[in-house]
Symmetry: C2
Subunit: 360 residues, 2 copies
Amino acid sequence: MPATPAEQRSASIAVDCMGGDHGPSITVPACISFARAHPNDRLILVGRREAIEPLLAVAGSALPNISVHHASQVVEMDDPVEVALRKKRDSSIRVAATLVKEGEAAACVSAGNTGALMAISRYVLKTLPGIDRPAIATAMPNVLGRGTVVLDLGANAQCEPEHLLQFAVMGSALATALTDEERPRIGLLNIGEEVIKGNDVVKRAGELLRASELNFIGNVEGNDIFRGVADVVVCDGFTGNVALKSTEGVAQMIKAIIAEEFGRGLISKALKLVAAPVLLRVRSRVDHRRYNGAALLGLNGVVIKSHGSMDAFGFEKALEKAHEAVTHRMLEQITRTLEPLRSVLHATAGSEAPVEETMQ
Amino acid sequence: MPATPAEQRSASIAVDCMGGDHGPSITVPACISFARAHPNDRLILVGRREAIEPLLAVAGSALPNISVHHASQVVEMDDPVEVALRKKRDSSIRVAATLVKEGEAAACVSAGNTGALMAISRYVLKTLPGIDRPAIATAMPNVLGRGTVVLDLGANAQCEPEHLLQFAVMGSALATALTDEERPRIGLLNIGEEVIKGNDVVKRAGELLRASELNFIGNVEGNDIFRGVADVVVCDGFTGNVALKSTEGVAQMIKAIIAEEFGRGLISKALKLVAAPVLLRVRSRVDHRRYNGAALLGLNGVVIKSHGSMDAFGFEKALEKAHEAVTHRMLEQITRTLEPLRSVLHATAGSEAPVEETMQ
């Protein structure tokens, strides 16, 4: 197989405009801003035409790289997966995923219900050969300024060692797509560096990873995610989800404490004004919106999930993640990395389990 | 059983002075400072007399509430548990635990090897009736300013639902001892609030907790630890350890970013000087040293573990945790809370597994 070029120029992205806590009022302005910044990309805005078009009109002159694709139904944030999958066949999520399947778009982006997005994407796009269970991955910030790809973040609450190996393969390909690093360093999230640490699943996953061709650097601990010790950190979806939300929680707490201390008394308030530019730089560097956009990996198509509560700035970051995944040929990378591992991965055939619905 | 008084006045504490990354050079000054602040407490400094006494002399006049108890051996940070347990019978950890067993001290404190401390404490002190496995618990900061007790933080990498129930009982008693709250709110760490979320162990643990007399509020997520939604958050030792270290990691990263941004250019440096008092207040409120001192719960005695890398300020905080546990009669609280649950807890008899050696 000839090496694929590192980049292609443009991406065509189907956007579920109805998902998330705020729907079109957030997603459409984000699309306008993105379309202006990426004139070579093409956005297909999926959802209720009557909800989308008035918001598009606000942009003034029509943007040549935005089109609208009507979808009559909306998956609500609290819809059970079965309802989303069986009763809402013309939902904006389903139509966006179908555009990817039919080759009309190279990626889709949604801020909707994660469980529904995962189930629908899996139903429409299917998984890649060798992958039992798709995983949710995102780049978390680290001191080096490059992100650490962490997965699974909640799609699979219970995993077998072989699933962790599959996550490692997919995470490695995502890191390559994001950073051009040919052999990203893979760490296995554990509670100590020594080989004997951890529970049975992690110990056996360590053996599989050591035997693989991946650039496995061994066990890493929770704090190593933020030290940039590894490019990819692999864990089950339960642990990953707890780690992600715990770190979001502590970051929010620190932000609240800084605001409180700079608001305490007149001198502090004056200081806050003077120090504002520095505090703004700090805030921007730890701004979780910048890291918005998790990839649903292992599907036969690029699917990016935005956090449901994001504003337009954050949602645009998710669109950028889709752009990067497409232009860096993430899907081809994953398929290529999977090939030599096919025999190991197929050891798990038949162990397929239903995807958990997790995360908002 | 009559209600015990909420407080007793003083505590007698055996201190392993040899443990931790820095040994007596840190532990002895911390003991001097603590002894001065708590004239009614009594400290027994355990370890090599020749290493401890010269550092005590620095304090000038002898402190009446400090005595030295010689122990000839030291458990190294990288000693395997078997070596610590079988080959070092006169180690400072073992001697300190024995002082608790013999009633010479009401608590012991160590910054040594966690695995060895847990194994030795368990061997010397035994577990409480109804408890299969001791757990490691600490109070993590929250926005309310009171701590959230989280356990297990790494003693048990693999847990059964009954163990999580035991952790809830012990954590509840610790929270009562720390905050005088009679019925602390217990949360089960999970990846969503709904009952159907999570892996099998967590789902079954939820059923046990709902059926118990504890003040169980249901599932909580990682970020809820820092929001103070629950007084106690229960999880297996793998998840707890990852959550603890991830939050330490992100807090350190934010600290580094703040330092970097205030060090960028002359104006920022000047601002840093001006804003120093506010930044200091922020730093003090998120200072992990203030939260140092994890309790090894479920043992027939109070054992407090200090982080191995702590300085004297942090080690003194661990001594204060021991003081609080003793004066608030934590052990009696746990025993009392365990009693009505004895029948449920004994369902797990025979499932006892070896304690993992985790954390430094």
